[in-house]
Symmetry: C2
Subunit: 417 residues, 2 copies
């Protein structure tokens, strides 16, 4: 049986949706602007992309993306599905990206085009093992039970601290009970905090703590760089006894991330900075379900999803959809660990669990921990208590009434769940 890849797009066009979809399918496979002699019926049958489905969504008098010559046209929005034979590009993901997300964004036929999701034949599982650790493996590395989220935080200020100051903060945080700490994505190797020095200084603290307590909190060192830098940094983390490497996946790109993740010794923390550039417009770029699949194929274990009631622009609905995407089955791959962050404290635990029903999360708080009125340890405990309560079916208000540390965090960070 022929295997096909199916991509789902949100599109907007001033022309007929059917016609525009057909042009997309042609441009991204055997067709071109003028008919050429070699495009035979057999060739189209084997290698032509096919429009599989069209769902009309509505229309507007204004285009999503401005046109140079607006002309009082009506812009129709639709969800369309297009398929390609696996024979077009086999198991080559960058080629697949160029097919699913290449020149089609240039077509005048569209005033909006966003890749929403795609489906791959099961045979891809033989070529891509996916995350080496995933959500459950990463939890195990952190010493966190399956039924609980990992509680984490980020070193701030983002950039400028010395290794010694950073290590002191790490010491305080792990004694406060934190499971996970990460570099900021802006922090790689600075004049006053060279990467290798920072790794050994911090891992000394963590290894000592682990020897004493049996619990080894995870530190995500930002290894982002060119391929050689990432390889070297990865080795440095591994040798120092670290368990996690962070990569700014958009800045490095798919091929670089794939090669590093393939080493398979460290959990890969995928930071999606730059995401707004490719997602923020509602009808341009890519949505998270498709994006997350690319990075699962690359072997990323942890992927940022923003958070409920976040401080950025993204809606709660979009965040919830992203968490679902991380937890969804894909090939035979491990589930992704959804990294929840941005203005988080214990308060959002209730709504997050209610809407997602998962604890396969790395739940990160900065101020929610460090600025807790009773100190950082109480900050960590108040978030854990909120999550335990949420998972056991208690409400925000019940938890506020029964837990003093959570109540204090409500006082400080807001009164809404």
């Amino acid at each position: 049986m022929e295997e096909r890849i199916v991509a789902h797009y949100l599109v907007e066009t001033p022309f007929s949706v059917e016609g525009a979809a057909k042009i997309l399918a042609g441009e991204q496979s055997t067709g071109t602007f003028i008919s050429v002699p070699g495009e035979s019926a057999d060739l189209i049958q084997q290698f032509g992309a096919r429009v599989e489905n069209i769902e009309h969504l509505g229309s507007s008098d204004n285009p999503c993306i401005p046109e140079s010559n607006p002309s009082g046209r009506t812009y129709k929005q639709a969800r369309i599905s297009v398929s390609w034979s696996i024979e077009n590009f086999g198991y080559n993901i960058p080629l697949m990206i160029s097919t699913l997300q290449g020149n089609l964004y240039e077509l005048k036929q569209f005033t909006g085009l966003k890749l929403d999701d795609f489906e791959l034949p099961e045979s891809y599982a033989a070529y891509f093992k996916g995350p080496s650790f995933g959500a459950l493996g990463t939890k195990k590395l952190c010493g966190v039970a399956d039924t609980k989220p990992i509680i984490g935080t980020i070193i701030k200020p983002s950039v400028g601290l010395t290794p010694e100051t950073t290590a002191q903060m790490v010491d305080d945080l792990i004694h406060a009970g934190i499971d996970f700490i990460k570099d900021d994505e802006l922090m790689g190797s600075t004049t006053n905090s060279p990467f290798a020095k920072r790794v050994t200084t911090i891992m000394n603290i963590i290894n000592t703590f682990a020897d004493k307590t049996g619990k080894k909190p995870m530190y995500a060192f930002n290894i982002t760089g060119d391929f050689e830098t990432m390889q070297k940094n990865y080795e440095t983390v591994l040798k120092a006894g670290g368990s996690c490497a962070m990569i700014s996946i958009n800045s490095v790109g798919w091929a670089g991330v794939k090669s590093i993740a393939a080493i398979g010794e460290l959990s890969i923390h995928g930071h999606r900075n730059g995401w707004g550039m490719i997602n923020r417009h509602p009808m341009l770029g890519i949505n998270f379900p498709a994006y997350a699949k690319y990075w699962r194929l690359a072997g990323v274990d942890q992927l940022h999803v923003n958070g409920i009631q976040n401080k950025f622009w993204e809606s709660d609905a979009s965040v919830v959809r992203s968490i679902h995407a991380c937890s969804s089955p894909f090939l035979n791959h491990q589930r992704l660990l959804a990294v929840v962050s941005s203005g988080q404290w214990g308060g959002q635990a209730f709504e997050t669990y209610k809407q997602t029903k998962t604890t396969n999360l790395l739940y990160m708080a900065g101020g929610g921990i460090l600025a807790h009125p009773f100190g950082a340890a109480a900050g960590v405990r108040s978030i854990r208590a909120a999550w335990d309560a949420a998972v056991s079916g208690k409400t925000f208000e019940q938890t506020r009434a029964s837990n003093k540390e959570f109540a204090a965090s409500v006082e400080k960070f807001g009164s809404k769940s």
Copy 2:
């Protein structure tokens, strides 16, 4: 003297431009949403980003990117410049990308944000040699004089042809006098045209032609894939006597492209498919001057710029700006070869040269060559004649009157220059 990287953005904000710019600078360096203890004056002085300049551009009642809660605000547009000390990330380009183009796209303060250009200290030249061949080196490989553009074409149908059929087309095209031929970006390795087989079959034809004539047309084989696939494909091309490797740079990503380009034996044809996703919206993403610099740093030799009067959405002004960006000085790097394509024939030579004054171009035509009334050889000659005429100061109409093959192409492809 302190070295700083300066980035220029086009922004839109419903708040004060000064305030929003300051938040951008803070978020992308030492600051965060709440003030944290370690953010000392010294640390800010050394690692804080600085707003260097603000140029107000105008305002609008509607935001460029839709807001979830529109509230009758006025949206101010501006060009702002922000600088970072080189101490923040040194010579690490992916980290620089995450700094210049990271979480800032998430900020609610902006309803539009586009990286327009950036400047690097000269010290970067010691760490990045840039294109190995660039425009002039690639011309030399093709046997094309400095004063002329390379005339090229693309194999169509994009995908589905066998190696034998492709090689036959190549044979016809090189006998017609073409300088350059490329795989379509959708074509990598298909069931009926495995990469290695295609390379050897095509290079047999080209090598035979070169032995006979002393001229070796360049074929850009699409090596796009994960790192191992690209390495293997690169070797295959090199061993077969090829001179060029094509990479879909957005799909592969910066780190992968950098590692492959660093081999330095083949001219790297940088295909920018997916470009519309990050550039098509006038106030979201990145503009070509910044984009081209990233890829020069990676070592790409040839970069797509679309073409004057193209069949896609992009304006002529944007294409002209892109060609200028390829020809502009940057560090001590070779100039990029601007790859002009999309609905090109001889007719656009006049306007292209008039507006750019450069022949550091790969000028690609499909139908403009294959569909010429007197055949492909006349198609190639008519484009060469148009370029020679344009460079020597002749007009479109003069050339039409004096050159029968050009006149025939005008009849067929349009009457406008």
